[in-house]
Every structure is written in C-alpha cells, then in structure tokens.
Amino acid sequence: MRFLPLTDAAREEIKKAIGIKDSKELFKSIPADKSFFDLAALPSALSEPELIAEFKALGRKNSFQEYLSFLGAGAYAHFIPEVVAYLSAKGEFVTPYTPYQPEVSQGNLQAIFEYQTMMTMLTGLDVANASLYDGATAVAEAVLLAVRKSGRQRVLLADSLHPETMAVVRTYTQNLPIELATVAVNEADGRVDLADLTSKLNDQTAALVFQSPNFLGVVEDSAALAQAAHQQRAYAVQAVTEAMSLAYLRPAADFAVDVVAGEAQSFGLSLGFGGPYLGFMTAREEFLRQMPGRIVGQTKDLDGKRGYVLTLSTREQHIKREKATSNICSNEAWCALRAGMYLATMGKDGLALAARDSHLHAAYFVAKAAKLKRVKVVYTKNFYNEVLLEIRKGTAEAFLATLKKKKILAGVPLSWFYPAVGNRVLLAFSEVQRCADIDRLLLAMGEHS
C-alpha cells in the first residue's frame, strides 16, 4: 500500500525493538470481545487507475455541467484566474498544519495578514479575523459577539436574512439565554421595515442583524438601520452572502455599521457543492478582545526583523476553555489564503470590474425583462446582482421546469425556503455571463407559457 511506508521487515524490527511478537498485542487494552471486528463487508481496495475510473463514473452521474446557470442565493459563480488555482494548489499551502510554530510558517501567516488587511479595506472596518467556517456560522458568531460585548440578551434578525443564516443562528443560540425576534420586510421596497424595527428595538437589544444585499437581492439602507440601532445603543451587524458586492457598494463603515460578517466564497472559491467556503468577520476596534477565531498580527523577531504570529490567543478555546469567545479551532485557513490570492490577483481594477459587471448584467436583465408578459421583476432598483422575479401565472417550480428543459437553471424558487411563496424565483448574475447568455434566458422566458 503506497501510503504505508513500513515494510514487513521494518514492522518485524519494530516489533522486536518494543518486545512484542504480534501486532495484536498493541491493542490488549481494548475489550477482547469487541476488537478485531469483521471487515469482510467493506469494499475492496482500489488501485489508482481504478479509483480514477470510479470517480469518473460518479462524475458522469452529475449532469449540471450542460446547463446555463443563474443560481445564486448564497453561492456564486465568479471567474477564478488560473494563477489562483495554480498557486493555491501548491503543497506548501495545502499541507501545512496550523501555524503554531511561526518560524516555519511565515508564508501562511503573511498571506493571512494580507487577507485580513484586504477584508478591512473592503468593509472599511478596523479589524478582521483569520476566518470562520462559512457565512451562516460567521453571522451566528457575530450574534454571540454582540451579546458578549453589550451585556444584553435580545437580538433582532431581519426577515430578509438568508433563511439558512437565520436557521443557523437559531441553532447556535437554542440553549443560550438569548432572545431572538424578527423584523419584517417592507414589501414595497424589499428593505427592512423601519417602523417595525423601531417598535422592536429597546434598551435590552444587543444588536440588529440585517443582510445587505439581502436575500431578496436588495441593498439595504444601512445608514438608517445603523442609526436606528444606535439610538437604543444596540449594535448594527451586517451579514453578507455575496462578498463581491463589497467591491461595488459603499463600505459598511461609511454607514456606521459595527460588524460585518458573512460569506466570502465569491473571492476565488469554486462552488464545490456548498463547501468548503469562507466565513469572514470584520469589526470596529472595540470588538477586538471579544472576536472569535484566530487573528494574525505583526511583530519582530530576535533580530528586530518583521514577522507574523497568531496573536491574542487568550480569546481562544485552547487557553480559555469554556470561557473562550468561540469553540472554533480549525478554521478555513486555506480558503482565506486563496481568497487573499484572488483579491491580490484581481487587484484594484479587476475586482472593481468583476463587481460592476455582476451588477450590470443584472441591470441588463431587469431592463429587458420589463418587456416580458409572463414574469415581473419585483424590485427594479437598488438590487446588486440578484433579481427577484414573480411568475404571473402558475408556480415558480413549473416555470423553472420548463426552462430546465431548455438547459437553463433560471434561479432558485423561493418556495424551497418559504413554502407559502409559490410564484417567486431568485436569479443571480455575475461577470462570467455574457449578454448573449442573458438574451437566451430572456428568449426562453418569453416562450414560456
């Protein structure tokens, strides 16, 4: 077996050295009636060529590759430069351990330091952590952060959060003394209803958590939301599922938002059927000591030279145990490194271009969809790259099934998340589509009956 370098001769030498005759003696402390169970039902080993064939066969059971896709809703198809794929696959980045030995981990540490810097540039906030599992858990951690920092227990969640984010926040807080309440969406503009928000904010509220661009594709009025929250000394926490929007929209710090947390899969990570992705968190300076997860900081070595280390570790579970700010240990280090690579490669201009075209393709669709008889765009302004579509006749499922026959995946039906909403579809656009692709979508929609 090629992953097992001990030869039979070496095994014998080792047995002799440690004074045993049979390897079974190594497992004497395990109850004898329970050990060495029968393995006969397990599959037989595959050679490397057989393994490749096996996975090719599995790949052939997938047929999504043939479809033109407008799926988004939390995972986005953006262009990934080859140089990012090439460099991030290097063993020096893929196979190291957590950089607890900084003298031999400067490559990783500097790359994460650069990633942290870029995330603060994108959000305008002071500090970023090294990563969290994904967007939904990052928002759940932000809820816990706000509760710790404020000493208050009540958290308001905008109804326009991604439903999966909402679900994960509920799971995370289910056994903690935290009271969750939801804030309604104003159907007219797809934004958080300010009247409902004001009526629910009080002096016990730790935070308002809203998403922008929200799950309906609409960019929220962050300034108004942050202002309302701050009037009750609650924090304004912005969730993000489409990180590309950060490069097109004004940074959260401009609107006095306190924490931005979410998903950065758009920054160079392949769709990968939902994971591994990249949870990020950025916050104002005052949250630093309460932040979850690892953080890389700059320091000097014995010779006074610049170097990087994992720092402020006393917040973490390996030191503070049950008093830690989070239980996270392994995070998404490689994903963060790759995201940093992506951002550096796209650079100031490339990122702006991808971010702008993601919006413009959506705008192109919205402008032309106005002529369609069977569908209606629900929110025709202040969307970013996702568009909510209403089907005038029949269900969204039936509408999507018709388009699927034409090899188009024309979005995600809202009924998956809200069974009562049977006639709405969420479509996502990015820089990778061409106008011709969108024309094909429009044509197919026009033919739909």
Partner: protein, 129 residues
C-alpha cells in the same frame, strides 16, 4: 511600598487598607508566574463583588488568570495606566501596577487575610512541594 503594611491572599492578591477603602493588586510572585502581561481586563467601577468573586482578568501571551476579590465590597477606581501599559503589572506589581480600589463591606473579612510574614511562609510551602 513597604510590604509589611500589606495583607495577602493565598490566590496571590495583595491588599492595602486605608480605613474602609482597599487598594488591590497581584503579588510579585504572581506576576512572575504569569510571565509577560499583555492585557488586563478590569471590573467596572461601582460593581458589587463578594469575597472570592472573579474581579479582574490578567492575560499573558499563553495564559489567562482570574483575580479574585480579596474582600467583599464595591469597585472604586480602576488603574487607568494599565490599558496602555499592561507591563506595569510585571514591573511594579506593588505600585503603578495595582489593579483597582474598592470600598469594603465586611470589615471582619480582613481577619482572614495573611500578613506579609505568613504569606512568605505560604510561598515557601509552595516551593517545597
């Protein structure tokens, strides 16, 4: 700072009494055991504490230690210098590196504290373990 005038706990806090007010810090032994202090989290002025309650948190690079209230009472002032200069706890544990003052509630608890000689004996006991 004359150590003879201080009182001590077995958790290595020191107390300097002035009437019903007490100044509190950690001992030289404690700062040495902790190593380089990088951050001190102090209680909020006005906070009510019972003897033995966690009051402040002292962080070194790889450890966090709770400081327990040596007496019951109310937090008065906290040392404003520690935010920018946590190393004072290492450099001057009995002076500029003090943590906070408190108004004490139960004078009879003072009897349970060790004087300097007893604390020194207690340290020798630890070393001999």
């Amino acid at each position: 700072m004359e150590l003879e005038k201080l009182l001590f706990t077995k958790e290595h806090e020191w107390v300097r009494l002035e009437g019903d007010s007490a100044m509190v810090g950690i001992t030289d032994y404690a700062q040495h055991e902790l190593g380089d202090v990088v951050y001190v989290e102090l209680p909020a002025p006005g906070k009510e504490l019972k003897k033995g309650d966690p009051s402040a948190n002292i962080e070194s690079v790889k450890a966090v230690s709770d400081v327990f209230a040596p007496l019951s009472g109310t937090i008065g002032a906290v040392n404003p210098k520690l935010a920018a200069n946590p190393e004072l706890v290492n450099q001057e544990p009995y002076g500029d590196g003090f943590l906070f003052t408190m108004k004490i509630k139960q004078a009879d608890e003072v009897k349970e504290l060790l004087d300097h000689k007893k604390y020194e004996e207690y340290l020798r006991g630890i070393a001999g373990e």
